[in-house]
């Protein structure tokens, strides 16, 4: 309640404050179940992170297990797997941003040029749809489509007289499957923010540009893009803030024993080491490392985006 005291203006005597709080009793009571949820499912696990500094023993539980200091962190640095997942997480995220970030902007600008309202609606319906499907469903579709035996990919290869390959089961190609399936799923959905920003652009600017003989491309470069540049920058910063999350669910369902090493990321590694192999402490150490870096990145991203005069996501 200490913070509550601060928000009351002036040096009101304690009794008045107590009275104010009592006046809001019903509202505080309303919050209780929700706050309980946050404590039980969000805050208690944060304290559970202490197992990163312990040797977790299933029989002793989180609090009774023995302290081992920084031993887990030393193991982490010595583990070649750790450096591999670190590299994969960063590279996958980076390429997803590099290719996947500009596409929705371009799509939004081009979609904004379409004057036929019905056509536009139909296209929007089509491109938003994949966002609402789970990765399990999408992986099921992909496994069939890209199968060299019964999928369309097989037909495609044979038509061009090539040896059919399964791009989802090969080390060299799975990376691009991850990148482009993510773009396929989310590019349409991501246009929404940019489309909304585009509706704010002053139409008179385009009229003036037309008078001066600017063509469509010139109008885009000199009017449209500068007009939405602040939202572009903010979205980019926020996206970079989430670079430690390279797509847990997607990669979990797309990887197989052959392709695992080339697309293994922090989350899939923690899942396997901790929950499947039972090395709880080591896995939690990897997770702690990831969470701390993510915390730094996200908070900096929000600070920076506020500098651009936009509210961050939090």
């Amino acid at each position: 309640m200490a913070a509550g005291v601060k928000t009351v203006r002036g040096a009101a005597p304690n009794r008045t404050l107590w009275k104010t709080i009592k006046g809001y009793k019903a509202l505080y009571l309303l919050m209780v179940p929700g706050l309980l949820y946050f404590i039980l499912f969000r805050y208690v696990p944060m304290f559970g992170l202490v197992i990163a500094f312990k040797d977790y023993d299933i029989f002793k539980g989180i609090w009774e297990s023995e302290w081992v200091g920084l031993q887990n962190f030393r193991d982490l640095i010595d583990s070649p797997d750790f450096w591999n997942v670190m590299k994969n997480t960063l590279v996958i995220s980076f390429v997803k941003i590099l290719i996947g970030f500009p596409i929705p902007i371009l799509l939004a600008i081009l979609l904004n040029e379409i004057r036929h309202v019905r056509f536009k609606k139909v296209i929007q319906t089509c491109i938003y749809l994949p966002h609402f499907l789970s990765w399990v469903v999408i992986s099921g579709i992909m496994l069939n489509l890209f199968s060299p035996v019964f999928g369309l990919a097989g037909t495609f290869f044979r038509t061009f007289g090539l040896e059919p390959v399964n791009i989802m089961a090969q080390k060299g190609t799975i990376f691009w499957v991850v990148i482009f399936s993510d773009i396929w799923k989310e590019a349409g959905w991501s246009t929404i923010v940019f489309l909304a920003a585009l509706t704010q652009v002053d139409m008179n600017l385009y009229e003036a540009a037309k008078m001066d003989g600017a063509n469509k491309i010139q109008q885009m470069i000199h009017i449209t893009i500068p007009a939405i540049s602040s939202i572009i920058i903010v979205m980019l910063i926020l996206r970079i803030g989430k670079i430690m999350n390279a797509g847990f669910e997607q990669i979990l369902v797309l990887q197989n024993p052959v392709t695992r090493e080339s697309i293994d990321i922090f989350d899939t590694y923690v899942y396997r080491e901790g929950l499947q192999m039972g090395s709880y402490s080591f896995a939690a150490t990897v997770d702690t490392f990831k969470s701390v870096i993510a915390l730094i990145l996200v908070t900096s991203a929000n600070k920076i985006s506020k500098l651009f005069g936009e509210e961050g996501l939090v």
């Binding site: 929700g34 039980l40 969000r42 696990p45 944060m46 319906t125 789970s134 399990v136 037909t155 509210e311």
Partner: protein
């Protein structure tokens, strides 16, 4: 005037591009639907392009004869209905007080619900904690863990804030308590937003896969997504063994995908009506 009627090459290209993109986005679903209805006995299904090869419901009949698919469907319905009800109750009860500017301690409570967005205990400690609560291998672990989505909570808070203070004050003067004001004034005014948030929550529950694989071990308790995942895997193994299965596994798989997706397709028109608004109500200013 006449020049305006002329269709520029840019416009033609632009329309063509979007027709192509539309096809790329939708064709995979059509392909799955087509595959699921095709006659499994025709060995050469790799020549499917636009229309099913033959027509049969046998893949669906086979799918519905599988007990695990039925229990999976029911589990998912349970999770979606009960989960969304819990989501809405907790979110409204939290969002409304947080939307009251004058609430003493409001900044503390806001920070309290936002911090978990920035930092979390992570997979392992959460798993161990849920295990200690005795919720492991129960659908309640999912309902509990997913009870509030911070992002949805913030959208709802923002919306409640936009309700004119004068309305709420007027209700107070008429002798309405805070809870009555919420039920009689605020909620009826927020139907569209509540529908948006409820749909977001429902889709999230229906599509949920990660936590179900982590927290649920018994196959009779699996939600549909986990069942589907296992059908996809199992089928792959069966294929390696031999052709001894009576049903063409690929047709069965495609029929299961269609069954999993149909509820989403059913709510999609409603979703689409609301989600643009929902997204824009979120913190990103347009």
């Amino acid at each position: 005037m006449a020049r305006k009627k002329k269709i520029s090459p840019f416009t033609v290209l632009n329309y063509a591009l979007f027709v192509l993109i539309g096809i790329i986005m939708v064709y995979p679903f059509w392909y799955v639907v087509m595959y699921s209805f095709s006659d499994p006995s025709r060995s050469d299904l790799s020549s499917l392009y636009l229309w099913p090869e033959g027509f049969t419901l046998s893949a669906y009949a086979y799918a519905f004869s599988k007990k695990i698919l039925l229990t999976g469907f029911l589990n998912s319905v349970f999770l979606t209905v009960v989960g969304t009800a819990v989501n809405m109750a907790l979110s409204v009860m939290l969002a409304y007080p947080l939307s009251r500017e004058k609430l003493p301690g409001k900044r503390f409570f806001s920070a309290f619900v936002i911090f978990p967005m920035l930092f979390s205990g992570g997979m392992i400690p959460t798993y161990l904690v849920i295990k200690q609560y005795g919720l492991l291998d129960s659908l309640w672990s999912l309902i509990g863990y997913m009870a509030v989505n911070v992002y949805n909570l913030l959208i709802l808070t923002k919306f409640f804030k936009s309700i004119p203070e004068s309305l709420i004050e007027a209700a107070k003067i008429d002798g309405c308590g805070d809870v009555m004001t919420l039920i009689q004034i605020v909620l009826p005014l927020s139907k569209a937003s509540l529908a948006t948030i409820a749909l977001f929550y429902a889709v999230q529950h229906w599509n949920e896969f990660l936590y179900s694989t982590i927290y649920i071990n018994t196959d009779s308790k699996w939600p549909l997504q986990v069942v589907l995942r296992n059908i996809i895997d199992m089928v792959a193994n069966d294929l390696n063994n031999s052709g001894a299965v009576t049903m063409n596994p690929e047709n069965f798989k495609m029929a299961t995908i269609v069954i999993t997706v149909i509820p989403i397709i059913c709510v999609y028109p409603f979703l689409q009506k609301y989600f643009t608004k929902g997204v824009m109500m979120g913190s990103v200013k347009g």
